[in-house]
Symmetry: C2
Subunit: 191 residues, 2 copies
DNA sequence: TTTGACAGTGAACATTCGTTCACATATACT
DNA sequence: AGTATATGTGAACGAATGTTCACTGTCAAA
């Protein structure tokens, strides 16, 4: 029997149950009749990077099971199969989220940041409680209205800059309520 | 003892080991001295949605451990604590990736799609093997050069449209090599 | 004070776990 | 042919698993 079919079955189980199957469960997944068969299969998958094992030999998903392969740039084009070995693998969650308890998603409405490449319908990853640095994009409440703006300090003065010529910079007087700092923008196609 | 501290310890273990700790491991994580204490703790966490249990009472991460809370829109502003109950929770990986084996990431270089909100340095999630529909953004090789373009069919004719007035539409003659269809754009701030 | 609910301890249970053994079968190479 | 080498079977091992029980201490309401 070949590995890829079994690998897919295990991956499907992992996606569905959010955990890895035990050897006994892999028996039914793979069609093997002996746990020793899947034991050796797992050994191969560990070497391939699909699975990994802890100290106590409990296993966890490996890089290839969790991550997405990262290629170069668009200009560099599609790598040939030979150099695909060089590609890195990245977990979206670990890459984008640092403080999970303080991270939220919200949808962009309005076009005040369109020149910064943030368009209505985009999804924002924002982090609460972080103190913004000049140049950050923030979600703030100004005059009882919630917007997306660049946060900039000029001297000791805070200026909220839109990225749209239709709107004007805001010099908040007193009631500046910064809710969160934008850490990422995600635009999803194909619904 | 309060739950949140223990919850964080378990969450940290999960982020680090990519799997959930056993009851015995939770003993050292929480400082409890009896597995019964963590057994009842886990019961509470299951009700809260941080953990979940399988049929065989093996447990898996719950929605609150994997996902990110989704709020409304920027205009709607920050929800009051009262209505935070209504928010949904979303897993980035499950949301963005449908066919993991065929999905790759690559970095945008060049400004040919800047008017579509895709800027140099942005990261693309692309899917290989998918047949593009008119209006999709694709990664294609034209004249031995890799670019990002809108894929459009006018009549029976394929046109590759840039989203930048500096560039002209491309009417591929023969050698049109479509590598992948863009399924998402991710821009990360704060490095 | 008495009572009752709650939270933690410590020990025990049957079950399941990962691992390893010896043996059978198949495939490829000389 | 014969002979390695790999692959799957079946049964068994100790160790670790989730769960449960009886008991102790604590804190607040009656």
């Amino acid at each position: 029997m070949q590995s890829p079919k079994h690998t897919l079955a295990i991956a499907r189980f992992f996606r569905q149950h959010k955990r890895l199957p035990s050897y006994r469960e892999m028996l039914t997944l793979t069609g093997f009749k002996s746990t020793n068969a899947v034991y050796r299969l797992v050994g191969r998958l560990v070497e391939l990077g699909f699975l990994s094992k802890d100290k106590n030999s409990k296993f966890a998903p490996g890089p290839h099971l969790l991550g997405v392969s990262v290629l170069g740039t668009v200009e560099a084009g599609w790598p040939s199969p030979a150099e695909e070995e060089l590609v890195d693998t990245l977990t979206l969650d670990d890459w984008l989220i640092h403080n999970r308890e303080a991270t939220f998603m919200l949808k962009v409405s309005g076009d005040s940041m369109i020149e910064a490449g943030i368009r209505p319908g985009d999804m924002l990853l924002v982090e609460r409680g972080r103190t913004p640095r000049s140049g950050d994009i923030i979600v703030a409440e100004v005059d009882k209205h919630w917007t997306l703006k660049y946060y900039e300090r000029h001297g000791g003065r805070v200026v909220l800059m839109p990225a749209n010529k239709k709107y004007k910079p805001i010099l908040p007087q007193e009631e500046l309520n910064i809710a969160a700092v934008v850490t990422a923008v995600i635009r999803k196609y194909h619904s």
